[in-house]
């Protein structure tokens, strides 16, 4: 049995001076022989999760278990062995080594695993034959089409017959004919005891999946009346990284808008007072909140849906909101974080 189990996974890292948490408390089970698709827009943490599953990135918290291997307990050498023997990775943009032929690219993981040269060559030939590239073995990546390169990448990924295959945007950079070839190939991989995890934002792949994991769930926005929220001093209105559907206008009191820093502290971006509004980018674009808002004094704010706020602003589209036009109608030189 080699099921994939992810529990309370948190990945946090520094990006510039700010702290980013693309994965926050993810739990997931994928049983052997199935194909799971990680779906979500760019920046939602798909590739980060694949990096963790591939033993390339260490999570900040939580556990990842594949069969009886607990990835979070492996040291550097064990992780290298895990990557070599347990995982096959199909990278975005193929990532074949341009100086090597198709055959030699497939031989890379075999030679890394100390398979004798002759045996590695035979195995690589078999794999390229299996992906329909027997006639292109001696060609370098630059001489192959995108679909052919992706098939070489798949052959490389399964060279050591790993029980876990990870594919990062495997249909990006491919035309529809090439997509068809690759989809069929990936579906074939998820058989027997093998687990295949595909990260994509291409919804055409969904019919392939045994399991679809939306890494950034859509919020079902529903129109509702403006929501008045009373806050005590120190009380948090919303936290960085959470989803929300309201744009808030301050009626009374003061609130600080703060972003987490890589150093561990927070940077106060702005103190909002009566008449100010904030939190518009998340609801408009379906993004998580990029800052935390908490009351500095006893405060009252009114939360509007995007449509209701647009009407309040007198805007005809989202442009005025994105440009952070003041409620008075004058342009504001200092746009707010969402």
């Amino acid at each position: 049995m080699a099921d994939l189990r992810i529990k309370d996974l948190v990945v946090e890292y520094s990006k510039g001076e700010y702290r980013v948490r693309p994965i926050d408390g993810l739990s997931l089970d994928v049983s052997e022989g199935s194909l799971a698709i990680l779906l979500g827009p760019s920046g939602c943490g798909k590739t980060t999760l694949l990096s963790c599953l591939g033993g390339i990135l260490s999570p900040s918290a939580g556990r990842i278990e594949f069969g009886d291997i607990d990835l979070t307990k492996l040291d550097e050498r064990e992780l290298s062995h895990y990557r070599r023997t347990t995982v096959g990775i199909v990278f975005q943009a193929f990532n074949l080594v341009s100086s090597l032929t198709a055959l030699e690219n497939v031989m890379v993981p075999l030679r890394a695993a100390r398979v004798p040269r002759r045996e590695a060559r035979k195995r690589a030939e078999e794999l390229l034959d299996r992906v329909g590239l027997a006639h292109r073995m001696g060609h370098r990546p630059g001489d192959l089409s995108g679909g052919q390169q992706q098939r070489v990448a798949v052959a490389r990924a399964i060279a050591l017959d790993p029980p876990l295959i990870l594919a990062d945007e495997p249909t990006a950079h491919l035309d529809y004919i090439q997509v068809e070839e690759v989809l069929r190939l990936i579906r074939e991989l998820a058989s027997g005891e093998r687990v295949v995890v595909v990260a994509t934002h291409d919804s055409r792949m969904l019919p392939l999946a045994d399991r679809v994991v939306e890494l950034m769930p859509h919020i079902a926005y529903t129109e509702h009346e403006p929501d008045t929220v009373e806050l005590q001093a120190g009380e948090t209105l919303f936290e960085q990284g959470t989803m929300g559907d309201c744009i808030y206008v301050v009626s009374e009191g003061e609130l600080e808008i703060a972003r987490e820093l890589a150093s561990g502290g927070e940077e106060v971006l702005k103190v909002a007072g009566p008449g100010d509004y904030f939190g518009e980018m998340g609801p408009v674009f379906g993004l998580p909140r990029s800052a935390t808002v908490r009351a500095l004094t006893a405060a009252t704010v009114v939360g509007y849906t995007v449509q209701a706020f647009r009407e309040k602003l007198g805007a005809t589209g989202s442009r005025e909101i994105v440009e952070h036009r003041p409620l008075s109608g004058e342009p504001d030189p200092s746009p707010e974080p969402d």
Binding site: T47, L50, S51, G54, I56, L57, S80, H81, Y82, R83, R84, T85, V87, G88, I89, F91, Q92, A93, N95, V97, S98, S99, L100, E104, M107, V108, P109, R111, A112, A113, R156, D168, E169, A172, H173
Partner: protein, 349 residues
């Protein structure tokens, strides 16, 4: 991952060839400079050995029998020949003169020694000079027996040729009788530069000191010590240039292959294998450059107007030093490869 390193060499062959040619030229210049510096010592040794003497007596305070000599009357020669430990003692004259040569002037080293005594080298053709207006010259002057040459204000008849006899960076040696050399150098005054001795005198006469063979060689090449040091320094700088060429090429290669290294690491290739491949590239470039440098130095050496005498040890040690320098120079590239994050492999194109 040696195959990947070899394929990368083929893939970027133009750049590697340029690096090999550049480094090879630098190695050739290093060898030639080494040969030039070594040549100074070789010709001094050959000249001193050709005189067939074991030691020299010079006036106390004179650094040596040649460049450092202080002329003195030959009154003590007979006395020295009777000293214990001395088999033969002969008067020797040494000095520098200028002769016209195809429209310009050329320096020659003038040696005066008895016709049949020690101090007169073995000739490749002709006979030793017997009269003051006769001379034996180095074959490097490209003159023949029977030719006449003008040196200073005198015209001399060439009666013998000495094979490849030079000193002081390729200056030809000429050999006269003691009287001939005295006329040429000392306006006929009966002065000598040293007393050449076969054997080693147990106790030199008062006012004299003994200079051994090594001291004589040192004296004959003293004028070139500065040049030799400059050449050694230049050779050292050229080693650094060679290291920079190899190192920068390997570093650029490592920079360009960052994504490849990330992919290798992501598929489980051990970092040491990646480093091994990169180091192998440095070694191959350095070795091929060393080979090219050795060939070029042999071809370029004869084009120099001075003796280029590259020691065999230099040819043997060049590849060893080249590999060491190649590896040392590739440290920056190796460090770069070590720090590549395999997560980079997940990036887009």
């Amino acid at each position: 991952m040696l195959i990947a390193a070899l394929r990368d060499l083929q893939w970027r062959k133009r750049r590697f060839v340029i690096a090999i040619v550049g480094t090879g030229l630098v190695f050739a210049m290093t060898l030639v400079l080494t040969g030039l510096a070594n040549g100074f010592g070789v010709e001094a040794n050959r000249t001193v050995d050709a005189l067939g003497l074991q030691s020299y007596l010079v006036k106390s305070g004179a650094p040596g029998p040649f460049l450092g000599s202080s002329p003195f009357p030959p009154t003590e020669v007979q006395q020295v020949s009777r000293l214990p430990g001395v088999q033969v003692a002969v008067p020797l004259v040494y000095g520098s003169a200028t002769m016209p040569d195809r429209g310009s002037a050329r320096n020659v080293n003038v040696f005066g020694a008895p016709e049949r005594g020690p101090g007169m080298p073995v000739l490749s053709s002709g006979r030793p000079p017997a009269a003051p207006d006769e001379v034996a010259v180095s074959s490097t002057m490209r003159r023949a027996v029977g030719d006449r040459i003008e040196i200073g204000s005198r015209t001399l008849n060439i009666v013998g040729i000495v094979h490849d006899s030079t000193a002081l960076a390729g200056q030809p040696n000429i050999f006269l009788t003691v009287a001939g050399a005295q006329q040429l150098l000392f306006s006929g005054q009966q002065l000598i530069s040293s007393i050449g001795v076969r054997g080693v005198p147990a106790q030199p006469p008062n006012g004299y000191r003994v200079v051994d063979r090594a001291g004589a060689v040192e004296d004959l090449s003293r004028a070139l010590n500065g040049a030799r040091q400059a050449m050694t320094l230049m050779a050292g700088l050229l080693w650094v240039v060679a290291a920079l060429i190899v190192g920068s090429m390997i570093y650029v290669s490592a920079l360009e292959r960052t994504r490849d290294f990330a992919v290798f690491k992501a598929v489980g290739v051990p970092t040491r294998s990646i480093l091994g491949g990169l180091a192998m590239q440095a070694v191959i470039v350095a070795l091929l450059a060393a080979l090219l440098g050795a060939v070029l130095s042999v071809l370029l050496g004869p084009l120099f107007p001075m003796r280029v005498d590259i020691p065999r040890l230099a040819f043997v040690s060049l590849p060893v030093l080249a590999v060491a320098i190649g590896l040392l120079a590739s440290v920056a590239g190796l460090r770069r490869a070590v720090t590549v994050d395999p997560a980079l492999a997940f990036g887009g194109p």
